[in-house]
């Protein structure tokens, strides 16, 4: 040991410190990668869920338009709350949404010219079983002039 010049001892110490450094670096790198994966995986599933929700919403919008299409084509006297309560979704649309609940309301608007307000509200659940914000559509039907 006496024969070793001081700088060579320093060199050895340096080398061992450098060797330890790679292990720590590796661990840090692995931890960073791990945390990245941990954040990435939920993000992926979130994006997927978002896509599924968008697709379901499109189906719901078309289903609600279909309901409104049929209901608003009724004659003035047939546009009633009783008739609205009997309205159901078509089997095709109902099969594509989770627990769909359809609510159609008819309201007489007294303001001239007298009209009836038809509101269609369609709710459904996502995979997690939560209610999503519903699709709401509104249409007004007017009394044909010259009819009793």
């Amino acid at each position: 040991m006496k024969h070793h010049p001081p700088h060579s001892t320093r060199g050895l110490a340096n080398r061992s410190r450098v060797a330890g450094f790679t292990l720590i670096e590796l661990m840090v790198a692995m931890m960073m990668l791990g945390s990245l994966m941990v954040t990435l995986v939920p993000l992926l599933s979130w994006v997927n869920a978002q896509r599924r929700a968008a697709a379901a919403r499109q189906v719901a919008v078309h289903a609600a338009i279909n309901v409104l299409e049929h209901f608003s084509a009724r004659s003035w006297n047939d546009v009633t709350q009783d008739a609205a309560d009997a309205v159901t979704l078509s089997a095709d649309s109902a099969a594509l949404l989770r627990e769909p609940r359809l609510k159609v309301t008819v309201q007489l608007v007294e303001k001239q010219p007298i009209s009836k307000r038809i509101a269609v509200e369609l709710r459904w659940k996502n995979r997690a079983g939560n209610d999503l914000s519903p699709v709401r559509l509104t249409s007004f039907v007017y009394r044909r002039t010259g009819t009793p």
């Binding site: 050895l12 292990l23 590796l26 697709a55 095709d92 649309s93 099969a95």
Partner: protein, 169 residues
């Protein structure tokens, strides 16, 4: 001592290289997967937008139509839907695999043509006669047997725009 240390760093180096290759493989796979997911997502969004545009056009043309006719073809030529507009033009919907072509004809001559690209699937039409004839567009994706099979239905009452012009009741 020195020899020992030199060996340790070699082992360490090989371990590092091994782990690095694992990391690289994982990263490559993740990136590939992400790109695939992104591509599929974009295709779905484009298809949904196009389908909404097609549905709007179908409703509009059906509401305005004075006549709706379905021409059933054979396997080579799928069915077509012809909607006669009040101004004499005929709007023809020609479904194909993964697309629907809409052609506007005046005196049998093509005046306008538009193609709606959809993410696979097939479109067909149904006409239900009644007091107010109902024209339906049915867009089917997925196989009959698979869980992902779905049918999106667009209903439109033919001539809804003119229902107040004719005197009934």
């Amino acid at each position: 001592m020195t020899g020992n240390r030199a060996g340790k760093s070699l082992v360490e180096l090989s371990v590092v290289i091994g782990l690095l290759s694992v990391v690289l493989i994982l990263a490559t796979r993740t990136i590939t997967f992400l790109m695939q997911a992104e591509g599929a997502g974009r295709a779905a969004v484009v298809s949904e937008t196009n389908f909404s545009r097609l549905a709007d056009r179908f409703r509009k043309n059906t509401h305005a139509a004075t006549k709706a006719e379905r021409l059933d073809g054979d396997n080579n030529a799928p069915q077509k839907l012809q909607l006669t507009q009040p101004d004499g033009r005929v709007v023809e919907f020609r479904p194909g695999m993964g697309r629907v072509q809409v052609v506007v004809l005046r005196d049998q001559k093509t005046q306008e043509r538009e193609v709606y690209h959809l993410n696979g699937g097939m479109t067909r039409f149904e006409i239900t006669e009644g007091e107010q004839p109902l024209v339906s567009l049915l867009y089917e994706t997925g196989d009959d047997a698979s869980r992902r099979h779905k049918t999106v239905r667009i209903d439109a009452l033919r001539g809804k725009d003119h229902r107040f012009s004719k005197q009934s009741n």
